[in-house]
């Protein structure tokens, strides 16, 4: 039970940290100042949630590891994040669509956890994260509509983003053995149970944006088993550089 809770928390924490780090790569590069601030703020929310989850995982594990050890000293194959969140930023359309797909899952997921988790510590984190995800959902959803229903160029780019990212979304609903066990014990919501709400939110926004979800004959999965695209390694190399080069460094 303890091992499975640890594993399930790590999966969620890794999703948040990897996506938070991806968004932070936009800092200073976004298409306009307001969006630069927005992406940095979204990144902060995700990294903040990741910290709370890693801290709880470390406490559950009880082996003296800290949130920093879990973030900086695990290798690529130990990372259990979804493939969706590690996808490179691409253009702004790719980034905002990736954010929308993720938030449309996490907002209902955290809301359900806040209302129904049997673990008070998870209810506390979830209640906080659900409020933040509601903002992410609204912000990214507005952009998907604006760009999809915008100029020929912005529409063309959103079509390309949907084609590039949609086949990573089935993995949102895949439960690892740890996630399955935690759902069975009432600690975390069942991931598959978010399907109806996700379909509703994504269907509504894509339709408003004039975009069509493609059929996905071969969903891309594997992140929960530590099987990642090569891009995650590049990201971790940069993110973990300092602790790898100067172990234990602090400031």
């Amino acid at each position: 039970m303890t091992d499975q809770l640890f594993d399930a928390l790590i999966e969620l924490a890794d999703d948040n940290l990897v996506l938070g780090h991806r968004l932070s790569e936009w800092c200073g590069h976004a298409p306009m100042l307001e969006e630069d601030l927005a992406l940095a703020n979204l990144a902060l929310d995700l990294v903040g949630t990741a910290r709370a989850l890693y801290s709880l995982a470390a406490e559950v594990e009880g082996k003296g590891r800290t949130e920093d050890d879990l973030a900086y000293l695990r290798v690529e194959r130990e990372y259990r994040n979804l493939l969706l969140v590690e996808r490179p930023n691409g253009d702004f359309g790719h980034t905002i669509l990736r954010q929308f797909y993720f938030a449309a899952f996490m907002e209902p997921f955290w809301s359900a956890a806040a209302a129904g988790s049997s673990d008070a510590r998870i209810r506390a984190i979830a209640a906080k994260a659900a409020k933040e995800m509601a903002y992410h959902l609204r912000h990214s959803g507005e952009w998907v509509v604006r760009l999809g229903d915008g100029t020929d160029e912005s529409h063309r780019r959103m079509v390309a983003a949907v084609d590039a990212l949609h086949h990573y979304t089935d993995e949102l609903f895949v439960a690892s053995p740890a996630a399955e066990a935690m759902a069975g014990a009432g600690v975390l919501p069942r991931r598959e149970a978010m399907r109806a709400e996700w379909d509703r939110l994504v269907g509504q926004v894509l339709a408003e944006a004039g975009l069509t979800a493609p059929d996905v004959p071969w969903p891309q999965i594997g992140g929960r088993e530590g099987l990642h695209g090569e891009e995650l390694g590049h990201m971790l190399a940069e993110m973990q550089y300092l602790q790898r080069a100067y172990p234990g460094a602090t400031w």
Binding site: E34, E35, L37, N41, L42, G48, R123, A129, Y135
Partner: protein, 160 residues
């Protein structure tokens, strides 16, 4: 005669928010309470947003204020129940508006409205003819608005 706990509260409550120094941590409702635990003052502090970079700074400032007032203290971070903008006091709302930041409008539980619009009054001229420039502003807890009547841009302390 004031109690030890009341004196500790007064010292901690007077700490200004580092990003909006016109309001105190008590005005914002970030300081949830203080209690006396066997001679150690425990200050309960809630972050506004989980990733708010000011959280650590605020906790350190409260600890410093308590130390200076002669208390041994410890900070306890409280996530549950989650902080909401409903906890900002009336006094805090007045101070925010006077500072040029529109205080949060309405209750905190309107999240289901995916594309809902809130009417935010301009803190300078009071006009409700305003438009949102960006959902995100200079800190995670604020959005950017512009007044169409007096043309002033301003921050809005958004509802969560």
């Amino acid at each position: 005669m004031t109690t030890r706990r009341e004196r500790a509260w007064a010292a901690a409550a007077a700490v200004p928010d580092p990003e909006i120094p016109v309001v105190t941590v008590a005005d914002l409702g970030i300081l949830r309470g203080v209690r006396d635990e066997d001679g150690v003052i425990v200050a309960e502090v809630s972050p506004t947003y989980m990733g708010c970079p000011a959280t650590k700074l605020i906790e350190d400032a409260i600890a410093e204020a308590l130390h200076e007032a002669g208390f041994e203290c410890r900070i306890e971070r409280v996530l549950s129940p989650p902080w909401t903008t409903d906890w900002i006091s009336e006094e805090g709302r007045r101070k925010l508006a006077a500072f040029g930041i529109a205080p949060p409008v309405g209750g905190a539980n309107s999240k289901r409205a995916l594309f809902g619009e809130t009417v935010v009054a301009c803190p300078r001229c009071g006009s409700t003819e305003t438009e949102r420039i960006s959902e995100f502003g200079s800190t995670p807890c604020k959005a950017q608005y512009r007044c169409k009547s007096c043309a002033e841009p301003f921050d809005y302390f958004k509802c969560i």
